[in-house]
């Protein structure tokens, strides 16, 4: 029978306490969860019987529910959905072989939670505004690039204009990151930023925030949002620290 892995847990409590806590949470498909431990770290798993529709969206959402429930009580590292291992022995082996790496990552996320922030814009309106500010269009003059004006040069000029606009937008996004980081300096969260994910999503950011600073963080994003009414802010959380786990086991 396969085992599905949910999370790596920091378990300083006694094994009985951990078992009681985990027993209160049902795994996916309503199967009991149990833990396999080594020193002060455990792995939460449950049995998984293969069937035809074993991996669907609902199951993935249910998996997230389990991680969320565990994270209410324990510091943990979520494991990516769909990680199946053959036996308890192999899970235990995984734990002992990678103990140090699990320990370091658990320390990094202890008493912290994650927030996601997407900054969106209406690309056409926003790019017009930015380009007007930076006078991008005026900067691109045909004679600077070409001696003659043909259909080909027009095409190339459009491309140059587009590239200039993208550069300007990128600079704007970099400034936005600097502004957000400055605004959150008192809260001092760890952060990761992805710039220009799509033309409308200017920024996709994640923050690792101390649990006792959650409200302060939400408030700070709220006030930042008020200063930028030309942008849409999509704040989600709090989440278990999915985006701040740096472990790839091959």
């Amino acid at each position: 029978m396969k085992k599905i892995i949910y999370a790596i847990l920091s378990t300083n409590q006694s094994h009985t306490e951990i078992s009681d806590l985990v027993n209160d949470i049902k795994g996916i498909l309503d199967v009991d969860i149990y833990t396999l431990s080594f020193n002060d770290i455990s792995i939460a798993v449950s049995d998984f019987t293969p069937s035809n529709d074993i991996t669907n969206r609902e199951l993935a959402i249910d998996f997230a529910r389990v991680i969320e429930a565990l994270s209410q009580h324990l510091t943990l590292l979520p494991v990516r959905f769909g990680t199946f291992i053959k036996s308890d022995e192999m899970v235990h082996q995984l734990l002992t072989n990678h103990y140090d790496s699990f320990f370091r990552n658990l320390q990094k996320v202890e008493n912290k939670c994650e927030f996601g922030l997407k900054v969106l814009c209406d690309y056409d309106t926003f790019s017009k505004k930015i380009s007007a500010k930076a006078a991008v269009a005026e900067e691109v003059q045909p004679h600077e690039y070409f001696s003659t004006n043909t259909i080909h040069t027009n095409y190339l000029l459009e491309k140059i204009k587009k590239n200039k606009l993208e550069d300007t937008l990128l600079k704007h996004v970099e400034q936005l990151i600097e502004d957000i980081s400055g605004h959150l300096i008192q809260i001092n969260p760890d952060s990761k930023f992805k710039k220009m994910v799509t033309s409308n999503i200017l920024l996709d950011a994640v923050f690792l925030v101390k649990k006792n600073k959650k409200d302060e963080f939400i408030q700070a994003i709220g006030s930042f949002k008020q200063q930028h009414d030309d942008l849409q802010f999509l704040l989600t959380g709090s989440w278990p620290p999915y985006s701040f786990v740096d472990i790839v086991i091959k």
Partner: protein, 71 residues
């Protein structure tokens, strides 16, 4: 505290959940892991969902922008 700062949309929350459970967290690969073909299908579905965050947000903007309603 400004309560409406955190997004409450169920659709967007689901996209965010799926993005996290499928793309983030501890990654375990290699011989130790049993591969499951159906996982790929969940990933395909997710890609469609993630792109729909923009669409969902755009729809909302269309609804709430007063100057657009007048047109």
């Amino acid at each position: 505290m400004e309560e409406n700062v955190i997004n409450q949309s169920k659709d967007i929350t689901i996209v965010e959940i799926l993005d996290r459970v499928l793309n983030k967290g501890v990654v375990i690969t290699g011989d130790i892991v049993i591969s499951v073909a159906e996982i790929d299908l969940v990933y395909v579905g997710l890609k469609l969902l993630v792109t729909s965050v923009e669409t969902m947000q755009e729809k909302r903007l269309t609804i709430v922008k007063p100057d657009q309603e007048k047109k």
